[in-house]
Symmetry: D2
Subunit: 147 residues, 4 copies
């Protein structure tokens, strides 16, 4: 779709303040898939000392969204239509790895999935799995959600 897809994804990353706030960074960008990492800190915890479910859902959303951005033309926007996250295991570890990919691309939406792994003492454990419908739309901001 876009030979400069890596640069386009990086552009979107560079403008994403909430992603920076969380401390999430992409470490691999390929066609239709991305991988990212987050170093877990105190600010990511919920009341019991685990990584908060809201951090997990945010990482799932970002991994799906950037995977989708790797499969659209320059200037085309991606937005989340809906996201479902299954919380398989508690988020315990020093680092979270997030993998996102496009399961089925389309003209109107890309169906995406993502998986999160908690890394503790060098071992990776799958902690969450998500599926998302990502809308794909030309850059008309006021029409962002198809309304």
């Amino acid at each position: 779709m876009n030979p400069q897809y890596r640069e386009y994804v990086q552009l979107k990353v560079s403008r994403n303040r909430f992603m920076q706030q969380l401390g999430f960074e992409l470490i691999e960008i390929a066609e239709g898939q991305v991988k990212g990492a987050l170093i877990v800190g105190e600010m990511h915890e919920q009341q019991n000392g685990f990584v908060h479910g809201g951090v997990i859902s945010a990482l799932c959303d970002m991994a799906c969204g950037f995977a989708a951005y790797s499969l659209v033309a320059e200037g085309v926007q991606v937005f989340t239509v809906e996201l479902k996250v299954s919380y398989l295991r508690p988020g315990i570890g020093e680092k979270i790895l997030a993998k996102g990919w496009v399961l089925k691309p389309g003209k109107r939406f890309h169906f995406c999935e993502s998986e999160l792994y908690a890394v503790k003492d060098g071992k990776e454990v799958l902690i969450a799995k998500a599926s998302a419908t990502m809308g794909v739309i030309d850059d008309k901001v006021n029409d962002k959600y198809g309304g």
Copy 2:
């Protein structure tokens, strides 16, 4: 279930670092329902200047979770089994209001829902709707996800 449910929810709020990090606060706590608010800042934005989908999913999760905590006995823990968020409209506004409630309580899980409203120039617009299965479990941390 718990005559001190307000104090129990407040205890959970006070320990929730990610909630504080986001700037989300509860403004009403009743049996089986809560209401909260977040003042939108730059740190909550995604690449197009709207409130990030990850902020929205996190608020939906918190609203469902604290509603569930209002309907359990002291010492019982609530954890998110799964969460689905529908992004109805873009998040544009100075403030986000989040309402969460228990649709169907149970011994093993509380089915919960939440709605988010963006407040702009005094007008509230529904921007997201979520449904979640919240697990309910006695406080055995290592058993947190029923595994």
Copy 3:
């Protein structure tokens, strides 16, 4: 959108073989909402004698879909992008009532919800709640899923 929306929904109902096979019938059609009923028979049961989860998900899908059809122009097609069903209580009763409505209409999709009630001895009990993204598209069959 379509002053003849009732006739358009009825047309879609008349062509829906699986709906007839199940025995599901619409009993009310209004703008953006429908109501239907199914008389429970042996064929609807799963292994424990309750209404099968697949019957329940099918009714949730139909209630959302026909509600969406009531808010599109003549000749426009509706298709399910995704559907999530929460099974709140077991399906026990002589009849199932299904209510579907459009939560947020749009040019590209209608976000819909549906609720199912089991009727037993004259009492209605909420047994399932669903949310769905319904795609809205002009009648180009080969493009049905936006691919």
Copy 4:
């Protein structure tokens, strides 16, 4: 968990009237995964001649549920807590293949996934992907949903 898991799954299949009504049959049963097939007939169609979304959600539910039954002890029951289905492509073909597996087993729930393939002229096309939370519970019928 259960050395007789194949027989236990077959027992559940034999009592499942809705499954028989649909014409869905299991063709492979292994630990934590099943495969089934449905010959498409007129009764499975929706208004545009494709396999109905309700048939698809029912097959996704069954594939997840029987996969879960292969990983529980004799006498333990499995029930659907929630199910989400993404409709990737239209259901066009002579046959539908359904694969279901347990992504993460647990004491209280098994997180499951399923994929449906439409077979047309000998070619298999992925048409749907589902995720489900399957409750696992000792055989107390009145407590079926944990309420």
